[in-house]
Amino acid sequence: MDKAGNSKKGPAGPTLFRQIATRLGAFTLLFALLDVGIVVVTYSSQPESLAQELLTLEAGKAEASTTLAPDLLVGPPGAEHWHASYIDPQTVAPAGSPSRPGVLMDWTRRERVPDGYRISGVRSVMQDGQQRWLFMRFEADSLRPYVPVIVEELVRHVLLPLIPLSLLLLLFNVFAVRRVLQPLRRAEAEVDALDPKNVLLRLSEAPEPREVNTLVRAVNRALTRLDETMAILRGFTANAAHELRTPLSIMQLSLDKLPPSPQRDDLQADTQHMTRLVGQMLDLAQADALAVEPDVLVDLADVGRNVVAAMAPKAFEAQRDLRFESIGDTRALGHAEAIYRIYRNLIDNALAHAPGETPIEVSAGPGPQLSVRDHGPGISDEDRPHIFERFWRKDRRRTDGAGLGLGIVQRLAQAHGGAITVENAPDGGALFRVTFAPPDPAR
């Protein structure tokens, strides 16, 4: 009935309906028990009225069944010396009857006998529109014969009124609570739609109920604080990386002035590595903050050719072959510089992992996608979940990278509303593919 408790993620707690039903059920039961207690106490203190009810109940049984001869009535449970018979008002009243012969009326008598009590009495019974008089008598030594009477009393005075009332209350409660919590459900949908990329998104405040309103306002305040922290963090990474560039330039140029020596070469290599790391950290901070304007058309093939042209000399120097191919329409919506960096990081990754003497194949298209494929060992299933993690490196002893390149690519692809996939090519090597939003055909 209610799906509010079944959130989209993971198992949920009990639903609202169940919670209310359980509580209401427990409450009803408590009341019923209390009621039973009251009934039992009341009747125990008034054995006379209990005896009266008992005989009326037995007479009711005789009345309900016309074919039942009075001696077939079994009597209340636990009764001894049960006797029941119809009497003629014209004849002499049975022994012990307080009324005079010829005039009959309902009566009940309860008296003590040596081992218990005896109850006797007369009830007028209507059978086939004819009034008859039923005389009953029995003896007992416990409360057991009264059980049907008490049950009857409970059903009539406790269960019959309480059950419909409880059901109505339950329905009303569920309906009312669900109505009142409607704003909560909207807030839930809005929280689900929250996106770290869209930091300005807030929950809309419902004017009522006040409880929901205060919660929404508190969540919004928390979101504002989170945004501020995020902005400080992002800003810090970007600023730190930026500020490091000038001292790195100074280090690098100073090193170049030193006379050639193995120490100088080592220091130069370290500076290069540091430079690369700083560049990647800045790239990543920028990728995190990138918002792609969805209406800029970029030709992936043009960008790809530029990247390959820029990187080919470095690749050839390392005895590597870089090839480019464009297939079909290669236009996509995106940010040209960001796409340039996607290519560059993927090619850097391929250069780092594929063995020498094997070509690296870069391609654009068909459609809004690009791919970079190498002929290296490919990506093992074990590594696959980690390759996009920041600062993850397959071999931590290698110092030529920080493990940020693929993370940058993934982030840039996501900023385009695109995706990156990696697979192992059928004839070996890793194949990275990035897809973008296609150009709007209406334009």
Partner: protein, 228 residues
Amino acid sequence: MRLLLVEDNARLASLIREGLDRQGFAVDWCETVDGAGHALKIGDYDLMLLDLGLPDGEGLDLVRMLRRRQDTMPILILTARGGLDDRVLGLDAGADDYLVKPFQIPELAARCRALLRRPGASLGTELSVGNIVLHSAERSVAVGGVSVDATPREVDLLECLLRRAGHVVAKPALESALYSMDAEVTPNALEACISRLRKRMTAAGADVQIRTIHGVGYALFAPAVIYG
């Protein structure tokens, strides 16, 4: 060649000045936007190297101001800002090139030289990489001092590649060089011509490499070149 360097970090500025000095440039240095404006009034510079975040203002504002005054002096932005939009912003403001720190002196010098090769300005008549020398006025090529017979088309191609030695020259750029010579160029003409040029150079004992970058273009590499 007089260059104006606008850079607020004194240590970096002195390193750049020293480095460019050794590459044959005369470099004047100032630290602020104001200082740069002043220097430009007094002196006559062929090129400005400009840092962006300066103590008294934004380097890009200086670029915009110069361009508004129809000043066409080449400007090379030298900055730590490597953001996704920074390069485009700089070039849109009117700068001619954009180099992100840190950089190496040979790379900076190469870019300065490229910017100083103004259209219409006299180009070097002798291009030389490795043991190849091409006299662009005489349209002649020599390898190791020995003259090589090459068709005019091959000389044209070689000139294109030599001018951008160490960099990839895109196919369309090379094709346009061919088309200007001969209107009847078949689609494979470029590949055929490159192939002949390569054979001829190898036969003559040239120590440079002409590499194919599939799908992009061609590049000529010197035996040992430092690539920026």
